[in-house]
Symmetry: C2
C-alpha cells in the first residue's frame, strides 16, 4: 500500500472539529442517554452486549478493516471463518443462547451457518421423530453435520404447493426416490447450501402409488462427509452474487433419481407405513401459524433497530457536515450544519420517530403473543385442569391469535418497507459521501432488503390482512359482538357512520389514534362493499387491499406507540423531559404519516381539509423544531458501538473526515496497482485478452 | 469450474416455455414495435446503434460474462482496458462523435476516461486561451495526457465558494503555489483521478497579495508521464469502493505547496498580469447557465431510457413468471403470469408510462433549448443585423431561458428521482430473483444513483425553482404581462381564484393538464404569501419549496407529454392504435400522479373528493386493464439488445431459468472453492489469521 506522506498526516479538518460539533449537540439536550438506552434494551441486555463487543473486537478474525474492499470469494471465506470462530467462542465461554445470538447480531453479516442454526435444526426438532432427532439433531448441534432448509425452487417462490421436486415411495425396497423432473425444480436461494452444508431438509412432493400427498420434508445428505464433494447424481452449488447478502452462500440443488432410506422423511406428523405402503397422519402440527406470527413480530421490532443504524449515521453526520449559510443569515457567518435545514430534518426526524415507534410496536406484539401462548397453555379451572384450557378461553385465545396474526402480517409488510426505504433516505441525506461504502449504510441496506421479500412478500402478505378484515367486517355486519380491537373499531365506525366524526388530530393524542382507526374502518367497509356486494373480482381489489393493510398497520403502530408511552410515563422509568420528547416523536410520526396519506384521511372523513393543511404547515414543522436539539442524543440512545456501525460518517466522535481519509489512503487495495494510462500502448489489455483465450 | 452434469443439461423448465409465453404476449397486441422504436429514436440512430452493438459483441474485451462476479480491482482494470479499446476502435473505424458516444453508452459502465473526455477537455476548450489549448487540448485529444476535473473537496460539495484549496500568486518568480491547508481541502470524488489521470483541472481559491479572488481553474500535472507515480508533494489515490460506479476511479488529491507556472491558470476570462501582479477579467463566460440547462435536459431524456431498462426486464419477467392461480380461478387452471395481477400492474405500468413521458419531455426541453439558442444568435432585423439580436428578442429569449432553466432544475430533480426509485420498484417487482445480480437491475440502479446527487442535488435544486416561481408570482401580482407559460398559468389562476375551477380530469385531457397547472399556481401563491407577506424564514419554507418544485415538474411532464402526443397524432408517423395506447399511457401517468398527490390537488381546489376517488378506483384500474395486453410490445419498442441488458430475467426470448442456471452453474467462481465445513478443525481460519499477522 502506498504510504501516506508525513505532511498529509499532520493535516486536520478545517474550522470547528467534528468532535466539538457533536459535543455541542450533546450539550444542547438534557435527555439522559443511558436511561433511555436502558428503557429500550434493559440494563442486562446492554451489559451482555458490551461484554461481547469487547471480546469480539479483541479477536483478529473479526477485524472489519477489509470488509468494504474484499471481493465475493474472500468475503465468503472470511464470513465462514467468523462463523466458525463464533461457535468455538460459544463453547469456550459457555455462552447462553442469548449471548450467542447477541454475538451473531454484533458481527452483523449474514453467515454461512445461518440456516443450519435456524431452519435446519428447528425443522428437525419440530418435525422429526425421536429416532430422527437422535440420528441428526445431536450431530447438527455438535456441527458434525451441517444442514440447510431446501424449499424454494428456481420456478417457485411463495407458492409451496407448486413445488416440483418429487419424493416417490418405492414399495419394493422401502426407499424414496428424490428427483428434479425439470430445470425449474432446482432448489434455489437455499441459504448455507451453496458451499457449506452437507445435509439438507428437502421439501418434495410425496408420491405413493402415483398419488401426490403434497410437500413433505426429507433429510438428504448432499455432500461427502470427508471430501465435501457432491454425492453422485446430485448437482449442488452457489447461485451467484446478489445485490447484498454476499457473505451467504445461497445455493441450488438438483437430484437425478437419488434414493434415500425410509427414515429420511420427517415423520412426527405424517409418515409412510413401510408395511402397508400407506400414508398416515398423527398429531397435528399446531402453532406453526403461531410461529410465523412470532417471527413476523421479531421482524417488526428488529425493523426499528435496523433503521436506527442508518439514522444514527445520517444524524451524526448531518451535525458535522456544514454546507452554505442559511439564506437569511448575516454575511460572514460560518456554514450551517445541514441538520439545521428543514429539508434535512423532514427526512431524518420522522425516521428517528419511526425507530422508536417500530421498537415499541414490535415489543408490544411480542408481549401479546406471549400472553396468548400462556392463555392457550393455562388450565380452565381447577376441576378441569387435566383437560387444559376450556373452550371459551381457547376461543378467545384463538380469536386474539387470528387478530395478532393479521396484525403481524400487516406490520411485517409495513415495518420492513419503512426500514428498507428509510435506510436509502438516510443514505441520500448524507449527500455525496452517502454513496461511499465507508458511509456504512449501503451494505447494511443491501443486506436488509431481502427482509421485504421473505417471511411473506410485503405485497402478498397484504392479501391475508384484507381477508381477515373482510371477515371481521362480515361478523360486525352480522351483528356479532366485538371480540378484539379490530372488530371494536369496525363496530364503532358502523354505529357512528351516519353521524360522522370530529377528531381533534392536532390537539388530542387519543383523537389522533382514533382518526387512524376511523380510516381503517372506512377502508374495510369500502373493500367489503366492492367484494361482497358489488362482487368485484379479487384480482381487481389487490391495490385496495394493499392500501387497506397499510392503513391497518399504521393504526397499529400509532396505537401501540401511544400506549407504550403512557405506560412509560406511569412507570417513572425515565424523567418527564424524556417522556415529553418521546411523545413529540409519537406525534411527529403520526402527523407526518397522516399528512403523507392525507387523501385517505380526507376521503374517509377522518380529517377536514384545514386540519390536513394545519398538520402539514404548522404542527409537523413545529415538532421538527422542538425535536431538533435532541436529535443526536436520541440516536446515541440506540447505543451502537462504532465497531458495529463501521461507518466513517456515523462515528460517535465526529471524526468523519479523518476516518474517510484513513480508509481511502491507507486501506484501499486499488491504490496498490499502477496502470498504464495511455490507450496507444496497452499491456493490460493484451494480458486480459490472453487470459480469456 | 465444476462441470454441469449431462443429466442436468437435458432439463428444461416445466410447463409453457418462456419463449412461448412471450410470443403469446407479443401476439396479443398490434403495436408496430419497429415503428414505435423509430418514433422514439429515429431510424438513423437505431441503425447506428445496431451496427456498433454487433461490432462490440465481436470484441472479446467487451465480453460481459464475468462482470457480475469480479471484485473491484479486476472490474476497474477491465473497465480501463475497455475504455482504451473504444478509443482504438474509434480511430480504426473513424467514428463520428455520435458513433463514439453510442459505443460508450452501449458498453454501459462508467469508465476511467469519463472525466477526461468530458469535463477536462470541455474546461480546456471553454476556459483556456489559445496558447493553453495548444499546450494541453491537442495532447488530451490524442490521449498523450489524461486529465480530470478536480473541484469537489472532502469537506465541500455543492458550495463551490467554500473550497479550501489555494493558489497563491508568487510575485517573485511569477508562479502559483497550489496548497491544501486542511484535510477537508483534499479533492474528493474526482472521477478518473484515482488511478488514471496524470493531469487535473484544479479549482482553487486564487490569492494575490493576500486577497482572495474566488475559485479559479488551474491545470496541474499530478503524475509522472513515464512512471505514472505521483509527483513530489502530491498525494493522490482512489477514494475507495462505492455503492456503485466501481469501474470508475474517483480520486483524492492533496498538494503540499506545489509550484506551477503562470500558464497553469486557465485565462480565457480571467488572468493575473505577471508584470503588474494584478488580477483582470476579459470577455464573459456566457452560456454557462445555458450549458447547465442543456446538461439537465439531457438527464431528463436519459431518465426515460434508464428507467426503460429496468421496466423492460421486469415486464418481460412478469410475463414469464407464474405464481398461484387467481383466487377466483377454477381448480386445475395453470398458475397465472404475475403480470396479470393488478398489484404488479400498478407498479409496472405507470413506470412504462413514465418512460415515455420522460422521453418526450426531455426531448421537448432540448428542442426548446436549441430554439432559444438560435434566437440568441439571430440578428434582430436587416438594418441591425451587425448588432446581433435586438434588446426585445434578447429579453424574450433570456426570459424563456430563465423559464427553461427553472424547468430544467425542477425536471432534473424529479425525473432522476423517478428513474432511480423506479428501478428499485422494478427490482422488487421481480420478487426473489430481482435480488440476484443476474436480474441486471441492481448494478444498473446502483450505478445510476449518483445522478440524484450530481449536477445539482435533487433537494437543493428545488430552491432554485422556488426562487424563480416566487419571482414570477411577484411579477404577476405587480400586474406585469405574462411572458411565458409559467407566468401565464399564474395570471390565469389569479384571475379565476375567487371563481374557482371545475376541471373534468377524467374526461378531458386538456382539463387534466390544467388541473396540474392550477395546483402549481395555488402552491406558488401560497409560498409567496408565506415568504413575502408573512415573512417566514427561508429555511422554514424548504419543505414547501420542495413540494412546489415537484408539482411544477409534474405539470411540465404532463403538458409536454400531451403536446408531443398531439404532434405525433398529427404527423401520422405511427398508426392510430399506437397513438391510442400512447394516449392511455399519458392518462395513466397523469391520473396515477394525481392520485398519489391527491391531497394537494384537493386542497388547492383543482379536484373534488369524488374525482379523486373515481380516478383511483375506476380510471386508473381501467387504464391498467387496457394497457396490460400491450406491455411487452411497449417495452420491446425501447429496443434494448440482450447484450446491453445483461439480464437473465429480461431476455427477449424469455429463457429466464436457463440463463439463471447457466450463470450460476457454469460461470460462478465461488463454485471453484471447496470449504472445510466443520468449525472444530479449521484450516481456512488459521490461514486467514496467519495472513493478518
Amino acid at each position: 500500500m502506498p504510504q501516506t506522506p508525513d505532511w498529509v498526516k499532520q493535516l486536520k479538518p478545517s474550522g470547528t472539529q467534528g468532535h466539538e460539533l457533536l459535543a455541542k449537540e450533546r450539550a444542547g439536550s438534557n435527555i439522559p442517554v443511558q436511561k433511555l438506552e436502558e428503557l429500550l434494551h434493559t440494563k442486562e441486555v446492554i451489559q451482555r452486549r458490551n461484554k461481547i463487543t469487547e471480546l469480539l473486537k479483541s479477536e483478529p478474525i473479526f477485524d472489519k478493516s477489509q470488509n468494504y474492499f474484499m471481493g465475493r470469494v474472500d468475503r465468503f471465506e472470511r464470513a465462514l471463518a467468523r462463523e466458525k470462530k463464533l461457535r468455538l467462542l460459544k463453547k469456550k465461554h459457555n455462552w447462553s443462547y442469548d449471548e450467542f445470538r447477541a454475538a451473531t447480531e454484533l458481527v452483523g453479516e449474514p453467515g454461512p451457518y445461518g440456516l443450519h442454526d435456524s431452519m435446519f435444526k428447528v425443522t428437525l426438532a419440530g418435525q422429526g421423530t425421536e429416532e430422527q432427532q437422535q440420528k441428526w439433531l445431536t450431530k447438527a448441534e455438535n456441527y458434525e453435520i451441517i444442514g440447510c432448509y431446501a424449499q424454494t425452487e428456481l420456478g417457485h417462490g411463495s407458492n409451496v404447493r407448486g413445488l416440483e421436486t418429487t419424493a416417490t415411495w418405492n414399495e419394493d425396497d422401502k426407499t424414496f426416490t428424490i428427483h428434479s423432473p425439470h430445470l425449474t425444480a432446482s432448489k434455489w436461494w437455499i441459504g448455507s447450501l451453496g458451499r457449506t452444508a452437507n445435509h439438507a431438509v428437502v421439501m418434495a412432493q410425496l408420491i405413493i402409488k402415483g398419488k401426490s400427498y403434497g410437500p413433505t420434508p426429507f433429510v438428504v445428505q448432499v455432500r461427502d462427509m470427508k471430501t465435501h464433494e457432491p454425492l453422485p447424481n446430485i448437482h449442488v452449488g452457489d447461485i451467484g452474487p446478489k445485490f447484498g447478502y454476499n457473505t451467504m452462500d445461497n445455493g441450488f440443488l438438483l437430484f437425478n433419481n437419488v434414493k434415500v432410506p425410509h427414515i429420511s422423511m420427517l415423520a412426527k406428523y405424517q409418515y409412510v407405513d413401510p408395511n402397508t405402503n400407506k400414508f398416515g397422519r398423527r398429531g397435528s402440527p399446531a402453532l406453526v401459524y403461531g410461529t410465523l406470527t412470532w417471527v413476523r413480530s421479531t421482524i417488526v421490532m428488529q425493523a426499528g433497530s435496523v433503521l436506527a443504524r442508518g439514522v444514527t449515521i445520517a444524524t451524526r453526520y448531518a451535525a458535522v457536515r456544514r454546507q452554505f449559510q442559511d439564506r437569511d443569515a448575516k454575511a460572514g457567518e460560518a456554514e450551517t450544519p445541514v441538520l439545521n435545514y428543514t429539508m434535512v430534518q423532514i427526512r431524518l426526524l420522522p425516521l428517528i420517530a419511526a425507530t422508536f415507534a417500530l421498537h415499541f410496536t414490535g415489543k408490544s406484539m411480542m408481549e401479546m403473543y406471549q400472553a396468548n401462548q400462556e392463555k392457550l397453555k393455562q388450565p380452565r379451572n381447577k376441576n378441569e385442569s387435566q383437560r387444559g384450557a376450556g373452550p371459551e378461553e381457547l376461543d378467545s385465545a384463538s380469536d386474539s391469535m387470528a387478530d395478532l396474526h393479521a396484525s403481524s402480517c400487516a406490520l411485517k409488510s409495513l415495518s420492513s418497507t419503512i426500514a428498507g426505504e428509510g435506510l436509502e433516505v438516510c443514505r441520500r441525506a448524507c449527500g455525496g459521501h452517502g454513496y461511499s461504502s465507508f458511509s456504512g449504510i449501503g451494505t447494511w441496506y443491501a443486506d436488509y432488503l431481502p427482509t421485504l421479500t421473505w417471511e411473506g412478500d410485503n405485497y402478498m402478505l397484504t392479501q391475508q390482512v384484507a381477508r381477515y378484515l373482510l371477515k371481521s367486517a362480515r361478523s360486525v355486519l352480522n351483528g356479532e359482538r366485538p371480540t378484539n380491537d379490530t372488530t371494536k373499531i369496525l363496530s364503532e365506525f358502523q354505529s357512528r357512520r351516519e353521524i360522522g366524526c370530529a377528531f381533534d388530530v392536532i390537539g388530542s393524542d387519543k383523537d389522533l389514534v382514533d382518526a387512524f382507526a376511523w380510516r381503517v374502518a372506512f377502508l374495510t367497509f369500502e373493500a367489503h362493499k366492492h367484494r361482497d356486494i358489488e362482487k368485484k373480482p379479487w384480482n381487481d381489489l389487490l391495490v385496495d387491499f394493499y392500501r387497506l393493510s397499510k392503513a391497518h398497520a399504521q393504526w397499529m403502530i400509532v396505537k401501540n406507540n401511544l400506549s407504550a408511552l403512557q405506560a412509560i410515563a406511569n412507570s417513572n422509568s425515565v424523567n418527564n423531559d424524556t417522556v415529553d420528547v418521546l411523545m413529540k416523536l409519537f406525534r411527529l410520526y403520526a402527523l407526518h404519516t397522516l399528512e403523507q396519506e392525507a387523501s385517505e384521511f380526507y376521503t374517509s372523513g377522518a380529517c377536514a381539509k384545514h386540519q390536513i393543511m394545519l398538520a402539514r404547515t404548522n404542527a409537523v414543522m413545529k415538532l421538527l423544531k422542538e425535536i431538533r436539539p435532541h436529535a443526536v442524543r436520541l440516536v446515541d440512545a440506540w447505543g451502537f458501538d462504532d465497531w458495529v456501525l463501521d461507518s466513517s460518517l456515523g462515528r460517535a466522535d465526529g471524526k468523519v473526515y479523518e476516518d474517510m481519509f484513513h480508509r481511502a489512503s491507507e486501506l484501499n487495495p486499488l491504490n496498490d496497482i499502477t496502470v498504464d494510462p495511455y490507450p496507444q500502448n496497452d499491456v493490460l489489455f493484451k494480458r486480459i485478452e490472453k487470459a480469456k483465450l
